[in-house]
């Protein structure tokens, strides 16, 4: 299916990088001999979400974008943990073989920041685009399912879920790419249908009813792909981890950052952006910090305003 979008450029190269027994999908734009720059996407996104942003950076850099495990065309693991996702970024940086700039959006910004903590020798400069974690009470999105109860009850709910749902291959399919994009737009109303259709054409797959039969042992069928249609290339298990993690634990570790960080956010309110006072509180932990605010953009500033966002990033990286 050929869906185009103004300014979007397909990557010049693609390949796979091995990490902890998984094959991770990496795409590249720009001169392979230039200084490397690694892009890491957000939750439920994929590497091709950078198709309008990466070409602007590729004028100066060899730009690589990683599909996180469980996302896009990368393998799905047996289970998820924050650490193993961070180590995937470290492994890709190691494979690149020389220090790279790392630019991450949303959850990918958090992964990039922790990868810089673990592997400073592999990171030149760090850009975190609104990847400062959720507010203490979590993001308050309309229609999003929230699990309530005591911590033991929440673990019991996770254990129940895992007993039966871990072999699900997808959520309920949409009858068309347009419908899938429209459903996504309910979560991200600042993004246009035109963009989301482009994004979906590269981040979704078409399933047949036979392809999505649950594996033996999976008894629950709610939400399972039953009819032919389109689903995101995302592992349903990626959204259902469990652990004692709390948002306020994120930033204190940033005190150990050995590289300068540029923190980028948009000036428009957005469900998925971290507002003040939390943003300021967390950023105060970064030892060497610059900030950039993209006017007229929300959480997806690199998609809403790619040229303005790229200008901030190029200026910061150019001073390395």
């Amino acid at each position: 299916m050929d869906v185009s979008y103004p300014g979007a450029v397909a990557p010049a190269r693609e390949r796979f990088v091995e990490s902890l027994g998984l094959r991770l999908h990496v795409v590249e734009w720009g001169d392979a001999a230039a200084t490397p720059l690694l892009l890491t996407h957000g939750f439920y996104d994929h590497a091709r979400s950078f198709d309008t942003f990466a070409p602007l950076l590729a004028r100066d850099y060899r730009v690589l974008a990683l599909d996180s495990r469980g996302h896009g065309d990368s393998d799905w693991p047996d289970a998820y943990s924050w650490l193993s996702d961070v180590l995937d970024v470290v492994n890709v940086l190691r494979e690149i073989g020389r220090p790279a700039h790392v630019v991450g959006h949303s959850r990918g910004g958090g992964l990039a920041t922790d990868a810089a903590l673990l592997f400073p020798a592999g990171v030149r400069r760090l850009v975190n685009m609104d990847g400062f974690g959720p507010p203490p009470e979590g993001f308050q999105a309309a229609g999003m399912r929230r699990y309530q109860g005591t911590v033991p009850e929440l673990l019991a709910a996770f254990l129940d879920w895992r007993r039966t749902n871990v072999s699900r291959r997808s959520f309920r399919p949409s009858p068309s790419l347009d419908d899938l994009a429209a459903r996504r737009r309910q979560q991200n109303p600042r993004l246009t249908q035109e963009w989301l259709r482009y994004f979906a054409a590269r981040g979704a797959r078409e399933v047949e009813a036979e392809e999505v039969q649950a594996a033996p042992g999976a008894t629950r069928s709610e939400g399972e792909a039953r009819a032919k249609g389109w689903v995101w290339k995302v592992d349903p298990y990626a959204a259902r981890g469990f652990g004692p993690w709390r948002p306020e634990w994120i930033a204190p570790a940033w005190r150990g950052l050995a590289v300068p960080m540029l923190a980028v956010w948009g000036d428009q309110p957005d469900t998925w952006g971290l507002p003040d006072p939390w943003r300021s509180e967390r950023l105060a932990y970064a030892p060497v910090l610059e900030t950039a605010v993209v006017a007229g953009a929300g959480h997806f500033m690199h998609i809403e305003k790619p040229a303005e966002t790229a200008a901030f990033v190029l200026d910061f990286l150019g001073r390395a």
Partner: protein, 223 residues
């Protein structure tokens, strides 16, 4: 030995002892295996099942290298489904997992005995996001290299993430408050903050330091 599907992987459950009477599920420490409980099983009158956690013993390594106490709790939950209602004895990381499962599945865990051992040690009063990854620079790279090494070591080097405890004491206490009965084997030595916090629950009591004596106390508690 029985192989049980746990999530997308498989774990090994060993019958260490057959017998009538209450079932005991044994959970080993970080880097150990169900074999660590072979001698102790003789002190229990009923059936003793020993689980090899993911990444250990005869169980598969988790593809992709993700390990946590909560994922190990899912392994133990799988074993509990096989065992029916049971008592649990856990050491180190296995003790923490016993606490999690006793709190999350109180209808199926009659009592849990917590023994000292390796795993989720340390910790502190203030939670630290990065505590599980106190692996910096060259050390992080060494762990990644060890995980890729052949032949494989006895247990997955990625389990290093379970060495120390990033969890706040009130997290452990919430599980202790949800449990039916918890016994803490005490030898007078200092324990991690999570252990001390869980000990404050009203269902908590002290057990002898020697494991056989502690197991006897566990048996008395459920008889």
């Amino acid at each position: 030995m029985k192989r049980l599907a746990s999530g997308r992987s498989e774990v090994a459950l060993h019958e260490l002892r057959a017998g009538a009477g209450p079932t005991l599920l044994a959970l080993h420490a970080l880097g150990g295996s169900s074999r660590d409980f072979v001698a102790l099983a003789a002190h229990w009158p009923g059936r003793v099942l020993g689980l090899d956690f993911a990444g250990h013993g005869d169980s598969a390594w988790t593809r992709g290298g993700s390990y946590s106490a909560e994922l190990h709790a899912a392994d133990a939950d799988t074993a509990l489904l096989e065992a029916g209602d049971a008592c649990i004895a856990g050491a180190g990381l296995g003790a923490y997992v016993a606490l999690l499962v006793a709190g999350a599945r109180p209808a199926h865990v009659r009592a849990a005995l917590l023994l000292p051992g390796r795993g989720l040690d340390g910790g502190g009063a203030a939670p630290r996001h990065d505590q599980a990854l106190e692996i910096r620079n060259a050390e992080a790279l060494r762990m990644l290299d060890a995980a890729a090494a052949r032949p494989r070591p006895a247990f997955d080097p990625m389990l290093r993430a379970c060495e120390t405890d990033p969890r706040p004491p009130d997290y452990a206490r919430a599980f202790a408050d949800g449990a039916r009965r918890l016994l803490f084997a005490e030898d007078g030595r200092a324990r991690p903050p999570w252990w001390e916090a869980a000990r404050g629950a009203s269902c908590a009591e002290t057990a002898p330091a020697d494991p056989a004596g502690a197991l006897q106390r566990l048996l008395e508690a459920v008889r």
